[in-house]
């Protein structure tokens, strides 16, 4: 399952992590949104940034909504990869709030950075202090802060934290180019203790070999 797990917000207001993603993408870029859901981000980018946007989505109702919004979306399963897409065919490949649901995150991250010059991911942070406290005090595995879904619900998630993800990227030779953090609906500007304070992280990724300036990768927090 690659369907975006969060219910779409009201049409006018973009989900907070999507607002950050929209802010990271420059005008007239080409964007592929993986698991684009009802197309909220793509529609926003097309309307406000004149991007050339495409989406991949699994759910029929979501695809119909996207087509109604005038978007170009194809049905597909991210677990099957992006084999049809030529190398470097997009400026940005976006994966928002989907990473915890994928069986093979390494495969999809590599594919994102093969097809896109840069990748943008947002994911919930299980390192958030309330999650840590919940496990400590109640002995129950915490739900992700911005992901109100039980551990047994389908699609199944795999918990990880900002620190886990940073190490994971390092191992894959992926560099974190830009980073932004949310605490609930609010953007927070933190460096050191983001893994404690952030509920959701948004990262811009690129292959470590790319000759671009690094703006400080997150360390353990």
């Amino acid at each position: 399952m690659t369907q975006r797990p969060l219910p779409p917000g009201p049409q006018s207001s973009l989900r907070p992590d999507l607002q950050i993603i929209a802010g990271l993408i420059p005008p007239e870029a080409t964007v592929l949104d993986l698991g684009c859901g009802d197309g909220a981000l793509l529609a926003h980018l097309v309307a406000h940034k004149q991007v050339k946007g495409r989406g991949i989505e699994l759910d029929e109702a979501n695809i119909l909504t996207c087509v109604r919004r005038g978007l170009s979306v194809r049905q597909g399963n991210l677990e099957e990869g992006l084999a049809d897409y030529p190398d470097g065919s997009f400026d940005y490949v976006v994966l928002s709030q989907t990473l915890p649901f994928l069986d093979d995150p390494a495969m999809i991250l590599r594919e994102m950075l093969r097809v896109g010059r840069q990748g943008v991911v947002s994911f919930p942070n299980w390192g958030y202090w309330r999650c840590r406290l919940e496990l400590l005090l109640t002995g129950q595995v915490p739900k992700a802060p911005d992901l109100p879904q039980e551990w047994y619900q389908v699609p199944r998630w795999q918990a990880f934290s900002i620190t886990d993800f940073a190490h994971f990227c390092q191992g894959l030779g992926i560099r974190i180019r830009e980073q932004a953090y949310l605490a609930g609906e609010r953007r927070i500007h933190v460096r050191k203790i983001k893994n404690l304070l952030a509920t959701t992280a948004v990262f811009v990724l690129e292959t470590a070999g790319s000759q671009r300036q690094q703006r400080g990768a997150p360390g353990p927090g």
């Binding site: 495409r54 087509v67 005038g70 194809r74």
Partner: protein, 411 residues
Amino acid sequence: MTATTPTSPSHSVGLVETKHFTFAQEEPFRLESGATLSPVTLAYETYGVLNRDRSNAILILHALSGSQHAAGFHTPQDPKPGWWDECIGPGKAFDTDRFFVICSNVLGSCYGSTGPASVDPSTGKPYGLRFPVVTIGDMVRAQVRLLDHLGIQQLLCVAGGSMGGMQALEWAAHHPDRLKAAIPLATTARHSPMQIAFSEVGRQAIYADPAWNQGDYYDRPSKPDAGLAVARMVGHITYLSEESMHRKFGRRLKDRERYGYEFQTEFEVESYLKYNGNNFTRRFDANSYLYITKAMDYFDLSAPTGSLPAAFANSAHLKYLVVSFDSDWLYPSYHSKELVSALTAVGADVTYLDIESSWGHDAFLLEVETMTDLLGSFLDRLAREEGVAPPEPSPAATTPDASPRPAQVRL
């Protein structure tokens, strides 16, 4: 399901008439096989009005047994409208208030276009099997001539299901400068061995009918109706799904309580097939069935290079809406997925959906609600992105045909 909802005349294109365009009277029309035809006539209908810059034309492409009569009624007493009336008309998916919709009968068919039942000018008798074998490519090149005649340089879109989808793909692959978008529905870019096999069973049924007489039956008292009916029955089975047959017929018996232990029509499904087979013989020509199924069997866009993406290398600038249906086992979804992969590989703008439906191949005509939503939204976007102006209010002024009659008359 809205498939059984009768079409309200208020949403109909109203009374329509078939027109005919004849070309290749002097310079013969050269076919892919190398054979030639002269002259060539295409029967066609149009609905709606062409706009001032001739940018709102949509070509509808019919399937194996279809015709140019896609919408509206031929007479006020007509019991049934055209075959895609639920999607073509004012306010419908192909909105005739905004678009100029054309539907042409294919070369080789029997609804007024040149085909095996037409008179061979060299003998003064119907062609029969002397009619040259035509291909999907030939059908489309004949349609290109029709568009030239109508003064339409570029179509906004071509759309069709099944063999209509093959024509849509042929248009996209081989005439990419003549259209902006293609909508292939429940179709394939290359006929599979299984599809060829079903075609061949249909043809064998016709060959086996003594009345077929090597295709020479037009001046005889009996036609190969039995063979054609069996061909249609086989076809019909492939258009349904096991689930839709369960729902439609189950194991129910027709007009009886218990088995008769005899070889009569007993099950409802038998009765349905028999009825449809017989009905078909009243409206279709057996030789046309042979020629058109053959054209479908030859269809393989990947043939020149073996690669499907290569077939669309010059068509990456077009927009595509590809639709398949998960219960369609005649043109299974993976054919459409292969097509979508090829289009993605060349960087084309492709929207794809595999619709959940229990209706099998027929779903492209039956899932009206979803199709209207999809097609309508896709066309809205096309019209917006391509800057298509609505037609002028007065129909007669902009009708491209020499005919003084307006293209549409509301009931």
